[in-house]
Amino acid sequence: MSQHAATDVRLHKVKTAGERRHTPATLVAGLILLTILVAIAIFAPLIAPYNPEAQNATALLQGISAHHWLGTDELGRDVFSRLLYATRVDLEISVAAVAASWLIGTSLGLLAGYAGGIIDAIIMRLVDFVMAFPFYVLIIALVFVIGSGFGSILLALIVVGWVSYARIVRGEVRVVATREYIAAARMTGIRGRWLLLRHVLPNVVVQPVVYAMSDVINVILAIVTLGFLGLGVQPPTPEWGLMISDGSDFLATHWGLATFPTIAVVITGLAFSLIGDGFAELVAEG
């Protein structure tokens, strides 16, 4: 007579030892770096010794000194303070752009993947249309049309940025929709939005998040490039791209003016890259 084998209390050790989730070092390093950057952005007014826009005709193009830790630029503005304030601008725009793109792209991708049919077709043709244009060409064209400045480059980035997420998510949704656990949920009577958000979404959300991490870097580069081209944030607002652009005139003599903001971009890119890698590693174990 067979017995019901009630599993013993050892259930929590069901997986062999060594499966303990440990946070990958890359993730931790990236997060720490990002936290520092965000802190800089938030506390810039408190840390910066000078007003970033304050010009000082008597202290033009000065090198590193006790008064100006990273020197001054061609209008006498303190480079260090500008760097700190620029962190705000660049981080704000890039994070906002990526977050919005992610939201829009993921939602449309979910819809397209699950609904299929004509809705899928429309959304995907839209994606194809946007993707057909080279990234920078489209951004620049949009900025020309909408005008430059904080708000418009944000808009341009979002209009161009959502498509990658939509593609990724649609692909994932199509795979997940065929899985048996979705069929089982449908048989329980769960359908529509509930099914999509509670059952499908958690399984498709990882890919776009990992992609977002690398996307932030691209977006920052785009902002910087636009700034460099004079199409982005307008002076006197401090922004890394603008600083690089202005400073490139003085590369031979005062290399710091262009180099320090470049280093800032690299560090920010590194932070997100580490987070992206670390996150992928973390989720892969699970």
Partner: protein
């Protein structure tokens, strides 16, 4: 007289030949007939086994009953309601399915407790009662309550199947479809799962349709069995009768092919023939014939011209074979799988 809980009538599922565009009802040369005019009746509280090898159509049939696949022709009734077109929420929940692969049938991102709670909620249970009910469900499948807080990745295959059973029961169904639920599990765990299913079915007065290729399990669990071959029902009847004296040559061959633990004359000594027909090869077979004839020792002219119909040979026992009712060839109880089309050349033989 028990009422019919599920009634499958002349059900066919034809997978279209895609190169002709989306016209599912056209049967062309390349369309695959997965389920071919199948009629089955399952009574309330019965445990029925549906047996077949790959290509027999048993999984497709199961999916049609579950509502996951559309039938091309024929009808499906549950407790009198026609399910072919529109299922109500109640209909949908009345028939629950447990899937073969325990590693893809549970949502990896959801905790077990959530899944059970949700199933109970959809059934209308008030929030206050749900936690207790979930714990009871887990207990009834032999799992501790700590399982509520974890995700499927922490569980083994057998444990996941138990959760799948608990989930199916949470909805309070009338019919459970078990599609090869033990095939992916270790043999020592199979018995547990089968036992659980049996107990759950009997305790709650449910009807169980157990789809499998494993005859040993059918014998242990089911009261009636339906044997499918190439999308058609070839034999159906009480388990005890069919195992004791199978009538259809395919059923006999199937039983004969199962390796025994203690066998005086090994199976291996007997000659064999070519592959049995799988659904991929069935595209080219004509409708008006018996699909088993190439491998059948009792095949004759009529088998090539006419599809055999299911006839009752005793109470509750039906067979679809032209040769049943004919005198058996002398001295042969288990037919040898020899080709009747004179193909000669059988592989293992030559080496003796």
């Amino acid at each position: 007289m028990t009422s019919a809980m599920l009634e499958v009538s002349s059900l066919s599922v034809v997978f279209p030949d895609r190169s002709y565009g989306p016209r599912p009802s056209r049967r062309t040369e390349n369309s695959v007939v997965a389920v071919d005019d199948v009629s089955i009746q399952v009574n309330a509280r019965e445990i029925v086994g549906v047996v077949g090898e790959s290509g027999s159509g048993k999984s497709t049939l199961c999916r049609v009953i579950a509502g996951l696949q559309q039938a091309t022709t024929g009808s499906l009734r549950y407790a009198g309601n026609d399910l072919a077109h529109k299922r109500t929420l109640a209909d949908r929940r009345a028939i629950q399915m447990i899937f073969q692969d325990p590693y893809t049938s549970l949502n990896p991102r959801l905790r077990i407790g959530y899944v059970l709670d949700e199933a109970l909620k959809v059934g209308g249970m008030p929030k206050a009662d749900r936690l207790e009910a979930a714990k009871e469900l887990l207990a009834s499948v032999g799992l501790p309550e700590s399982v509520l807080h974890i995700r499927p990745s922490r569980l083994s295959g057998g444990q996941r199947q138990r959760v799948a059973i608990a989930r199916a029961l949470a909805v309070q169904p009338q019919v459970i479809l078990a599609d090869e639920v033990t095939s992916a599990l270790d043999v020592s765990i199979q018995a547990v799962i089968v036992d659980l299913l049996a107990k759950a079915t009997l305790d709650r007065g449910l009807t169980l349709v157990f789809v499998t290729h494993n005859l040993q399990v059918v014998r242990a669990l089911c009261q009636r069995v339906v044997v499918l071959h190439a999308g058609r029902v070839v034999e159906a009847g009480p388990v005890s009768e069919i195992f004791a004296s199978p009538q259809h040559p395919y059923t006999r061959a199937l039983l004969a092919a199962i390796p025994r633990l203690h066998r005086s004359a090994s199976l291996l000594a007997e000659p064999t023939a070519d592959e049995s027909t799988t659904s991929a090869e069935r595209t080219a077979l004509p409708q008006a014939e018996c699909h088993f004839r190439q491998l059948c020792p009792l095949a004759h002219e009529r088998c090539r011209q006419e599809r055999p119909a299911l006839q009752a040979i005793s109470a509750g026992h039906e067979v679809a074979c032209h040769a049943v009712g004919q005198p058996e060839p002398s001295g042969d109880t288990a037919p040898r799988m020899s080709s009747s089309t004179g193909d000669g050349g059988v592989p293992g033989d030559r080496r003796g």
